[in-house]
Amino acid sequence: MMQTEDLIMHLPGRPKLDALNWQIQAGQSWGILGPNGSGKTTLLLTLAGLKAPRSGQILLAGQPITGYKTQQRAQKLGLVFQQQQDDFPATVLATALMGRHPYLRSWQTESQADISLAQQALAQMELTALANRSIQTLSGGERQRLALAVLLTQNPDLLLLDEPTNHLDLHHQMAVLELIHQQVSKGKSAVMALHDLNLAARFCSHILLLYPDGQACWGEKNSMLQLPALEKLYHQRLITTQVEGQQLFFPYSPLV
């Protein structure tokens, strides 16, 4: 699906960064873990072709990503940003419909099929009741779900998500990650920046660790989610336990 060749992202003021020779296959869901400022968002933007790397290149379906036209690229990969911009009061449905933009010629208007795709996506994100509301009236979590609905309408093969559980309550965190999991099991791939180790352990098949010193390592979930590595990553003591077969991690903070 996607491959990076000697990729070094462009992070100003960070001279020492590991080169990434990384492969993302269909059916894999990658979690990117790292402390604040380690470059998770920059990595996602670079993978999406929205930010030029310092060196190296990215192959999307075998071809350099720089060779794609923006519209073709948007059919193959989609990105949910950490924050959404909404300076103008479009409706929720009209916003979800924007996911069809990569598939329409400039003179075409959205067909009934496009509209029902958008409505389906809204239903999956439990936003149907808000379809005619202005996006400016939505709560943080509703905005986040709308951004995911746009991604579902866009229906790309590679889903890039920058903290997809941002602003979401527990129920919607599970709903969103289960939905991503479901998409991946249909043969798509997902790469998501996460802060919650337990969600990463539950929903990702592979993990990439971005250390603050510029080091990076990646691999299967079980080999990556090891206590010493994670403690070094976050510069924080952790404790771990197993509940009903699931590995859980907690930051250690002594009771005084």
Binding site: K69, Q72, Q85, I115
Partner: protein
């Protein structure tokens, strides 16, 4: 999606026609409706012919074009800068035009030179702002906005300087130009052609503009070639504004308020918003100019004063009602 609003747009179109006819009939001498019918069918009194065909028709058409150009340019600037407070002049266009126009007035040159200077000044200011904002390679809506606002205040200082140092008998002409005045408007044919061509170009681009309003990165992720589109709408907005300024000086308010009014009535989709803004902006200016001609007839007020007086209460009323 946008089609269900077409009947509403049609109503606006008919209303615009009605206002155009009203602009032909009213003035220091009011004419009956039959006068238009007979003049257009080639008959009618010579006085009516002169009044309608030579005086009022060009003036009314110039007013409509100016309003339409400003409203569309305003709507484009608001998308370009992702800022609902943007208007066509926000990037210093009118300031550049004003300085050039006032300088030609100071030199005592005629109407033709004032218009040409205004157009040149507007374009010059556009290139200046654009060069400064995009020249370093890195650009953002905020950077563009800041550059424009700073350049505009530079022009403002120059305008004050020119006004302060010019002679008393030149001041009224300069002030009328600054407030926006249609009495010296040149032939409106080119502005009409430009307005129609640009609208035909923009309506297919409307969906892209909708996506662009969600932010440059989000738009790029959805397949918009952001830089190309931004360059295009910046160029078009500048062209529209420069032509409007050439026609009638700097008329404030229309470019800011009309797109907002239309968003309240038509929603947010640019494919409807842009043609609606053109119609409403044109109508508003014809209405304002007609009032400017009759309130203290036979003297004329600068039309910019009336646009604000008409627009402010209407806008506040709509804003108040939409919040309930």
């Amino acid at each position: 999606m946008p089609f269900k609003l077409l009947p509403r747009l049609l109503v606006l179109f008919c209303l615009s026609l009605l206002i155009l006819v009203l602009g032909l009939l009213l003035g220091s001498v009011n004419l009956p409706l039959e006068a238009i019918v007979s003049v257009l069918s080639g008959q009618g009194a010579p006085l009516h012919k002169m009044l309608i065909l030579e005086l009022r028709l060009p003036r009314v058409l110039a007013a409509f074009a100016t309003g339409g150009l400003l409203a569309v340019a305003g709507a484009l600037m608001q998308v370009l800068l992702r800022n609902p407070l943007a208007d066509p002049y926000i990037l210093g266009l009118s300031g550049g035009a004003a300085v050039a126009a006032l300088l030609t007035m100071l030199a005592g040159l005629g109407v033709f030179w004032v218009s040409s200077a205004a157009f040149t000044g507007a374009l010059l200011s556009t290139f200046l702002v654009f060069g400064l904002a995009y020249g370093s390679g890195q650009s953002s809506a905020t950077r563009l906005l800041l550059t424009g606002v700073v350049v505009a205040s530079g022009w403002g200082a120059l305008i004050s300087f020119i006004l302060a140092t010019s002679q008393a008998q030149q001041l009224p002409g300069m002030l009328y130009w600054l407030m926006g005045d249609l009495s010296h408007a040149p032939n409106p044919l080119i502005p009409w052609v430009v307005l129609l061509v640009v609208l035909c170009l923009l309506i297919p681009l409307g969906r892209t503009l909708n996506v662009l309003a969600r932010g440059a990165l989000q738009a790029a992720a959805l397949g918009v070639s952001v830089q190309k589109v931004e360059l295009l709408i910046f160029g078009l907005a500048a062209l529209l504004t420069a032509i409007a300024v050439t026609l009638a000086g700097s008329i404030g308010f229309v470019g800011l308020i009309v797109p907002h009014l239309m968003r309240m009535l038509f929603g947010y989709d640019q494919r409807i918003l842009l043609p609606a803004s053109a119609l409403a902006g044109g109508s508003l200016l014809v209405l304002a100019d007609t009032l400017a001609r009759i309130i203290i007839a036979p003297q004329q007020l600068p039309v910019g004063v009336i646009t604000a007086m008409l627009g402010v209460p209407v806008f506040l009323l709509l804003l108040y009602r939409s919040n309930r």
